[in-house]
């Protein structure tokens, strides 16, 4: 079962070197234990562009789709047996990156 772990940031800054080191160590463990599928850190929301092509003409909007105090700073896609395992990984991930983490299951198998 795969879960999306979204890193929720309420600070403006990027990860500090200490946080980066903790994330790297956590990532190594995810790979070693077979949880790793994919992960990435994101540039700040100010770099986002929203595209809406539902009307036949692609409209571009400068900025994120939602202006909010909290934003998505990065994510993991991980393999876990069940939610208990996923929540344990999330707790460790949250500690490593020093931010809140939301866990959501991927749909279907």
């Amino acid at each position: 079962m795969q879960y999306l772990f979204s890193v929720i940031d309420d600070t403006a800054g990027l990860a500090t070197p200490d946080e980066m080191a903790a994330i790297d160590a956590f990532n190594d463990r995810l790979v070693a234990e077979g949880h790793w599928v994919f992960a990435g850190g994101l540039e700040s929301p100010s770099t986002a562009t929203v595209i809406d092509n539902r009307g036949g003409e692609a409209l571009f909007t400068d900025g994120p789709f939602l202006e909010s105090k909290e934003h998505l700073a990065g994510f993991w896609v991980l393999q876990a047996a069940d939610l208990d395992e996923a929540l344990k990984l999330a707790a460790e991930g949250s500690k490593a990156c020093n931010r809140k983490v939301e866990v959501r299951p991927f749909r279907g198998e």
Binding site: M1, Y3, A81, D82, L83, D84, L87, V103, P105, R107
Partner: protein, 439 residues
């Protein structure tokens, strides 16, 4: 006919959780299990009056519910493709003996009380899946519309399935925290019954306290070694034992010191005391429920309120504060301190809690009582007013209102003398007891 109906009620009481649990295990789906169990009981209501109660009603219900579940899965697999059929091919594991950690009902309880669910969802789901209460019953219990409760339970079942909340007893390493989560749910159900809120509700909801006790007894039977489970059960029994004495005929709360102790339920008290003694004999550091049960045991050991061993009560609260430094525990400790060291000491302790408890009616009620005992009537009246404003329990509001209105009549009465320190007996004899929150 009445016999059959009684038999069905009894079997529902005893077997519901087992049927839901074994179906959830087999089909891996709470929704399927719940619906099939409900259908099986509906079939029993239909058939047993004519056919008679089967010799093994539990087995009959499980078999019938299994068939209903298979019917539903067949129907859905015709619609959704063949993959679900595969699940029907393997039969369940052998039934596990009850009383063991492997009892399927335990899995069910731990799943319903999973920490990834909101507290109110855990309560609702536990009452539905383990307690067998209907959705309208649960909605009434928590004063929400049925559709709201239905949605809450449906959403929870959806999340358990989609996010794969496991159906198992947690590992030894996680067990203490998870049991404590289960006990929180049961204590919440009990307290909502014991201190029912809402203008139209009875002050004590016996249906909820009884259900909480029943479920705690079940967990106790499944985990007899767990001290906190025993502690919570003892606490509930010793609180429930005072239920009828706690509200007067006119619907007013009767403070602990003024209750008719002869009206307390002696068998429940005896059972509660037995559990407390069992935990004392275990010589393991007690958790918070065990300490709360011990406090309740001290109260219920006194034949007369004046015989209450307040130094013991305060000592137990000291132990509790150490374990759980919450302001509510500190407030209850202060109320006990008033009996030991006098209201002045207690008022100072209560005053320190203002920042955190200003929105809590019991804080103002405790302050009001202490101020009244110190003869500071106008301040007491204001504090009673604040407590009445914030209280939700009708019996408590009636009690506080009478207390406040009595003050009006005895304005500027001389204050009673402060008791000497360290003489609980003398203090108890001289000072009228204020309400002591028993939990």
């Amino acid at each position: 006919m009445t016999d059959v109906r009684e038999a069905i009620t009894r079997v529902h009481y005893q077997e519901w959780a087992r049927v839901v649990a074994s179906l959830t295990r087999r089909f891996g789906d709470l929704d399927v299990a719940e619906e099939a169990a409900a259908e099986a009981f509906a079939t029993a209501v239909e058939r047993w009056p004519a056919d008679g109660v089967p010799p093994n009603p539990g087995a009959w219900l499980t078999t019938t519910a299994n068939r209903k579940a298979i019917d539903r899965i067949r129907r859905e697999s015709k619609r959704d493709g063949k993959q679900m059929e595969a699940r029907l091919l393997y039969d369940d594991d052998p039934p596990e003996p009850s009383g063991a950690i492997g009892d399927e009902r335990l899995r069910l309880i731990f799943t319903c009380c999973h920490p990834a669910l909101a507290m109110q969802t855990r309560v609702a789901l536990t009452l539905r899946m383990v307690g067998g209460l209907t959705v309208p019953e649960i909605a009434r219990a928590f004063l929400v519309p049925e559709t709201t409760m239905e949605k809450r339970i449906t959403r929870a079942k959806g999340k358990i399935k989609a996010a794969r909340i496991p159906y198992r007893v947690p590992s030894a390493e996680d067990l203490p925290a998870r049991i404590s989560g289960v006990l929180t749910v049961l204590f919440l159900v009990f307290n909502e019954g014991y201190l029912a809120t809402g203008p139209g509700t009875d002050p004590v909801r016996h249906d909820l306290t009884a259900e909480a006790i029943r479920l705690t007894r079940l967990i106790r039977a499944l985990m007899p070694q767990d001290g906190e489970v025993a502690g919570l059960l003892a606490l509930m029994l010793l609180t429930e034992a005072r239920r009828t004495a706690r509200v007067s005929a006119s619907g007013e709360l009767v403070a602990l010191g003024e209750q008719d102790r002869g009206a307390w339920d002696a068998p429940l008290i005896a059972e509660g005391h037995r559990l407390v003694r069992e935990r004392l004999a275990a010589r393991v550091a007690p958790g918070r429920y065990q300490i709360l049960a011990a406090i309740a045991a001290v109260h219920t050991s006194a034949r007369d309120a004046r015989d209450t061993d307040w130094s013991q009560v305060v000592a137990l609260y000291d132990q509790l504060v150490h374990l759980d430094p919450s302001p509510i525990i500190a407030l209850n400790r202060a109320i006990a301190v008033a009996e030991l060291d006098g209201p002045e000491m207690a008022l100072a302790a209560v005053g320190r809690l203002e920042d955190t408890l200003a929105g809590y009616h019991a804080y103002h009620a405790a302050r009001a009582d202490l101020l009244r005992r110190l003869g500071r009537s106008s301040q007491a009246r204001a504090a009673y007013g604040k407590a009445i404003e914030l209280a939700g329990n009708t019996a408590e509001i009636a009690y506080l209102t009478r207390r406040r209105d009595q003050l009006g009549k005895h304005l500027r009465r001389a204050s009673p003398p402060s008791p000497p320190r360290g003489q609980p007996g003398a203090a108890g004899a001289r000072i009228r007891k204020g309400e002591h929150n028993p939990v």
